[in-house]
Symmetry: C2
């Protein structure tokens, strides 16, 4: 019999993935002309986000911002150091299209880890990060501070592919 802690991890993983699937399915429904079904997928995606957040809170994994940043740095570092390199190698050996996003993610996660480290330094000094403009490459997930670059250093996307969130 699984413990409640194990159950929370499993259900958090399930809800998180359902959220992502429904968001992708919503886009697809929109493309196929099913506007209302797209809205249903988006609404249900948000329901799964609520479930995921509840499980994460019950796991005690929403801590102080300093601790959250450290957890984020650890996760990003694990991904670019240990998880993605062998995945990329295997996909390249297979000639599998997965290699494209594996490569983009590998590069982006290292940038994310560095940005979170900057943020953690600020928090340790009792202040907020002194940057308020973040430019996200909508192709690969690379993030640049202050202004969008002419060309993405990871995926070579042009400046117009950069977006700001919120």
């Amino acid at each position: 019999m699984a413990t409640t802690n194990e159950n929370l991890k499993e259900s958090f993983a399930g809800e998180s993935q359902a959220n992502q699937k429904y968001r992708a399915f919503a886009k697809k429904a929109e493309k196929e002309g099913f506007k209302n079904i797209s809205k249903l997928f988006k609404t249900t995606a948000e329901a799964e986000r609520i479930h995921a957040e509840g499980h994460l809170a019950a796991l005690g994994m929403i801590a102080s911002t300093a601790d959250n940043l450290q957890a984020a740095i650890d996760g990003e570092t694990e991904e670019f150091s240990n998880m993605y390199p062998p995945m990329l190698e295997q996909a390249e050996a297979d000639g599998h299209k997965a290699k494209i996003m594996f490569k983009f993610a590998l590069g982006a996660e290292e940038v994310h880890a560095n940005l979170y480290a900057k943020a953690l330094e600020a928090v340790k000094n009792g202040v907020d990060l002194d940057v308020s403009e973040f430019y996200l490459c909508s192709v690969c997930g690379y993030i640049e501070l202050g202004a969008a670059p002419e060309k993405c250093p990871i995926c070579s996307a042009k400046q117009s592919k950069f977006v700001q969130i919120d």
Copy 2:
């Protein structure tokens, strides 16, 4: 050595969970007064969504809307039939606060499955769902069509807790 397909499943799970964590961490940073760090978390969450969507596409799991709806019905049914009931029972036996969201999710997933079944019926008839207003209970994830109920049938939240997405 894992296959690329296995790697895609693992990385999709990882990216999906990172997205959820960062969204929750963004809220926490906002509450603690770190506005810019909150924005960094939100921006990075969106980067992980891009990675997750890329992996899901490489898995071939973004299909036609009819097939996506069937996959969604199967997932919801598995959750409310097999996954959540023993989790709820265990959390209740433990007196663990996880029982609250397990119970809400169990109820909500059944409603989601029924709504997706309606949508699939429409698609099979070559039409969109004939409802465009979806009201989501922001406490438990229950969804009502057409108008918000006075009280949520799953968690008893009042009407003002209902929201529309997009």
